[in-house]
Subunit: 81 residues, 2 copies
């Protein structure tokens, strides 16, 4: 009825969170504070260990002044946008 094996979903979602975050000179902790999650959560997302809920994706997009479609994609991003 239990197993300590979370972290590692099925369907990948690629993102540019780290790129957009560092562009704004923000630390993970600061971004986490802005969107109201733990700083580790930002880490998991940047490393693409799992994909966010839609609500979180919307909050992050707003915090980073980007469109959801500019930040997240089902297909890998090319270099330098």
């Amino acid at each position: 009825m239990l197993l300590g094996m979370s972290r590692n979903p099925e369907e990948p979602v690629y993102n540019r969170i780290e790129e957009a975050r560092t562009t704004l000179g923000l630390t993970r902790q600061e971004l986490a504070d802005k969107v109201g999650v733990h700083y580790q959560t930002i880490g998991y997302l940047e490393r693409e260990e799992y994909s966010p809920s839609l609500v979180l994706a919307l909050r992050i997009a707003k915090a980073l002044n980007q469109e959801v479609s500019e930040l997240f994609s089902q297909t890998p991003f090319k270099k330098g946008k």
Copy 2:
């Protein structure tokens, strides 16, 4: 320690899935098949009983030929777009 009370989250996300779906003349079952979920799941989303994962939101947007930001929002939609 348990309660059969799922269905009913905290933070609402508004959407136009039903509007976009009927515009295309699709049934819930058909949309569900296109995005690979249960037809009830589409129902729960349209009634805004919970919000989708980002992956599902991306798939739905693609199936309905819309931008994620056109389909989902943290603030209610006005009438007729």
